[in-house]
C-alpha cells in the first residue's frame, strides 16, 4: 500500500521555498497528531482503567463517551484562573509553557512514517534526551513558584527523579546507538530489521522503567502523588494554565509511547500496513502497558525509587552496554533470529539474579 500521499516529498523539490513548506506542513501535522492523540489517550486511559477497576468509565458524552475529553476541556477553559497571592508570578506563568514545549520539540525528530519527519538530525538520540530533560525544569518551576508546600515537595522530588533516571535511560539508549551505529532516529529505526526489544531486551526493560519515571507515571508518580501531596506540583494551578500542565502530562505519555515504539519496537516498520498505522498500533500497545502498570501497582517511596534507579537500573543498563560491546567486537554480524533467544535468556538470567539482591525497601538511602 502506498503511503506517498502522506509524504511531504510529494511537494516538488524545485518548488520555491520547499524547506519552508516542509517546515509548515510538518509542524501543523505534528501538533495536530499530538493534540488528537492526547484527546484520544485521555479517553482511552479513562475507559481502560475503568475496565481494570470493574467500572464502566465515561460513556455519556457522545458515542462511548468519546466527547468526554472535549467537554472537560471546555469546562477547564471556562474556569477562573487563580494565581496565589504570594506566588512568583513570572515563573508561575511561564512554567506550563516551559513544560509543554519540549515535549512538542521531541516530536520534531520522530519519523511518523518512512520519511515523514520534520528534521532527521544526525544526533537525534542526544537531542531527544537533552530536550526531554527540559520538561522537568518546567515542572520544577511550576512547583517552586506556586508558594505551596505540597508543590515544593513535588518539585523537589521531580528533580531528584530526573537526575536518577536520566542516566540509566541514556545508557540504555547508548546500547541502541552502538548496535545501529547511528545517532539519527531514522538510522536507529533502519537498523531494526529485528526490533531492538528482542535483540536488546535488557535495554528495553531499563528504558521502559526509566521512561515511566521520566513521564511521572505510576509507580513513579511521586511528583503528583495524590495521596500524599494532594496534586503535587500543580496543586495551585487552575484554568488554562492547569489545562496546559494536564496537556503536558498526557503529551509526555503520548511521546513516551512513541519513543518506546520508535526505539524498541521498530517505529513505523512493519509488513502490509502503512507506516503510520504501524506506529499507531505500537503506540497503543505501549500505552496499554503503561495503563496496565498504573492501575495495578502501588507507588514507590522516593528513596525506593532512587534506589531502583541507582542500584538496579544503572547496573542493568551497563550490563546491556557490555553485552553490546562484546557483540560488536566479536560478532558484528550477529543480528539474526537465532541470536534472539540467547539475548532473552541472558536478560532473564541477569534480571532474576539481580532481583535477588535488589529488593526495594529493605533499606533506605538518605535524601
Amino acid at each position: 500500500m502506498s503511503t506517498a500521499f502522506l509524504l511531504p516529498a510529494t511537494i516538488a523539490p524545485d518548488w520555491p521555498g520547499n524547506f519552508w513548506w516542509h517546515l509548515l506542513i510538518m509542524t501543523v501535522l505534528l501538533i495536530a497528531v499530538l493534540m488528537i492523540s492526547v484527546i484520544m489517550f485521555i479517553w482511552l486511559e479513562r475507559r481502560v482503567i475503568a475496565r481494570f477497576q470493574a467500572r464502566v468509565g465515561p460513556n455519556r458524552a457522545g458515542p462511548f463517551g468519546l466527547l468526554q475529553s472535549f467537554a472537560d476541556v471546555i469546562k477547564i477553559l471556562t474556569k477562573e484562573d487563580i494565581i496565589p497571592a504570594l506566588a512568583d508570578k513570572p515563573l508561575f506563568w511561564i512554567a506550563p509553557a516551559m513544560a509543554f514545549v519540549p515535549v512538542l520539540m521531541i516530536l520534531a525528530v520522530i519519523p511518523l512514517s518512512d520519511g515523514l519527519q520534520l528534521a532527521d538530525i544526525n544526533v537525534g538520540v542526544v537531542y531527544i534526551s537533552a530536550v526531554s530533560a527540559i520538561t522537568a525544569i518546567g515542572i520544577f518551576m511550576s512547583g517552586m513558584s506556586s508558594n505551596n508546600k505540597y508543590s515544593l515537595i513535588g518539585a523537589m522530588r521531580e528533580i531528584a527523579q530526573l537526575i536518577s533516571f536520566e542516566i540509566p535511560m541514556l545508557l540504555a539508549l547508548a546500547g541502541l546507538v552502538m548496535a545501529s551505529s547511528s545517532m539519527s532516529i531514522s538510522g536507529v529505526i533502519g537498523a531494526q530489521t529485528i526490533p531492538f526489544a528482542l535483540t536488546q531486551p535488557l535495554a528495553f526493560v531499563v528504558f521502559v522503567i526509566a521512561l515511566l519515571a521520566e513521564i511521572n507515571r505510576t509507580p513513579f508518580d511521586l511528583v503528583e502523588a495524590d495521596s500524599e501531596l494532594t496534586a503535587g506540583f500543580n496543586t495551585e494551578y487552575s484554568g488554562m494554565k492547569f489545562a496546559v500542565l494536564y496537556l503536558t502530562e498526557y503529551s509526555e505519555a503520548v511521546v513516551g509511547s512513541i519513543l518506546i515504539s520508535t526505539f524498541f519496537l521498530g517505529g513505523w516498520r512493519g509488513p502490509f500496513l502503512p507506516g503510520i498505522i504501524w506506529l499507531v498500533i505500537k503506540m497503543l500497545a505501549s500505552f496499554f502497558v503503561i495503563l496496565w502498570i498504573r492501575s495495578t501497582i502501588p507507588r514507590f517511596r522516593i528513596d525506593q525509587s532512587m534506589k531502583l534507579a541507582w542500584k538496579t537500573l544503572l547496573p542493568l543498563a551497563m550490563f546491556n552496554l557490555f553485552i553490546m560491546a562484546v557483540k560488536t567486537v566479536f560478532a558484528p554480524g550477529l543480528t539474526n533470529w537465532v541470536a534472539v533467544p540467547v539475548y532473552l535468556a541472558i536478560t532473564a538470567v541477569i534480571i532474576i539474579y539481580w532481583a535477588r539482591f535488589m529488593r526495594p525497601g529493605r533499606q533506605s538511602v538518605g535524601i
Binding site: 502501588p298 507507588r299 525506593q304
Partner: protein, 367 residues
Amino acid sequence: MTLATEPFILNIGPLHPSTHGVFRMRVVLDGEIIQDVEPVFGYLHRGVEKLFEQRTYKQNIPLSDRLDYVSAINNNWPYVMAVEQLANISVPQRAEYLRVIMAELQRIASHLLAVGSVMNDMGIFFTAFMYMFREREKIVDLLEMVTGQRLLYNYMRFGGVSQDIPTEFLPALDRFLKVMPGYLDEYDTMLAGNEILLSRTKGIGVLKAETAINNSASGPLLRGSGVNWDLRKSAPYSVYDKFEFDVPLGTAGDCYDRYIIRMAEMRQSLRIIKQAVEQMPAGKEKTPTPLRLRPHAGETYTQVESPRGMLGCYLVSDGTEKPYRCHFRAPAFINLTVLKELLIGQKLADAIIIFGSIDISMGEVDR
C-alpha cells in the same frame, strides 16, 4: 560551610484526600523525614454525647449509628446493651444471633473499606478500592434487605432488633458466604505478594506490644502487635462464647501485619456468620419494651469489639426518661494516641500509610 536551615511545617488536612475525613496533622519535616507531629482534630465535633442527654433513651439509638458511620450496627450494640442492663430487659436468643450476624457482616464491610483505602493511600489509584467496594456492595445489599437502609441502619432495639430477617435473606446470605472466600483469595493473590506493597508496608510503622498496651490501643492495631485481646474471646458478650473462631495475631506490629490481620478477620467473621446461621433458633426477635423507658437510677459500662477495637459505652441513669450521662470509649480516638510515636522518623509517604493502617473514622474520633 553549613547552610542555615529551618523546620518545614506542613499541614496535612483537614481537607486532604488521605486523612479519611477531616483529620489534620501538623507535621514538621526535614526533607521528607518527619521530625514532629501534632494531631489536630475536632473538625467533625457534633456534641453527640451531649445530644444523648437531650433525648429519650429510644431516640438515642439512631444517634449512636452516627458515631462510627462505617460500622453503624456495631455502634448500636454497646449503648443498647447498657440500657438493657440498667432496665433489666432480657434479649431473646434469636435476637442475639441476629445481632451477631449483622454485626459480623458490618465488620467485613468496614474492614473492606479500611484495607481498600490503605491501598489507595499507597497509590494503586482506586483499583483495589473499587474491587473491595464491589464486595462491600453485596454486604450493603444484604443489610438493606433486613433494615431498609444502606449506611446508617438503626437496627438494634432495647430487648432485640428492629425487625426479623425476611425470607429471602438467608438464601442471599448463603450465596454471599459461598463467594466471599474466593474474593478474599483473589485479594491475597493480587496484593499480599506484591513486591512494592511489601516494601511499602513491611517494617513500616512498627508498634511494639508494650507501647500499644500502654496507650490502651485495641482492635487490629493491638492484635497486629501480637497481643491476644479480642473482646469476643477475652470477655465474651452476647452469644460469642458459642462460636468457634480464631483471633488472628501479628508478629511484627507493622502496617503489613495490620493489613493481614484485617484480611484474616474477614475470614473469621465469615466463619462466625456461618455458625450463627446454623445455630439460630426460632422465636421472637424482640422483647416488647415500654414506649417511655425509665431505667433504674445507676450506672453501667458495656463494651463490644467493633471493627476498630474496644467500643465501650458508659451510661448513667437518674431514673428519668433521658440519660444523665452517656460517654463512649471510642477505639479510633484512643488508637490515634500512638500516632505520634509511630510517625516520628518516618518518611512523609509512609506517614500516610501508617495513618491509614490505624483505620480511624472521624465520626467516632470527634463525636
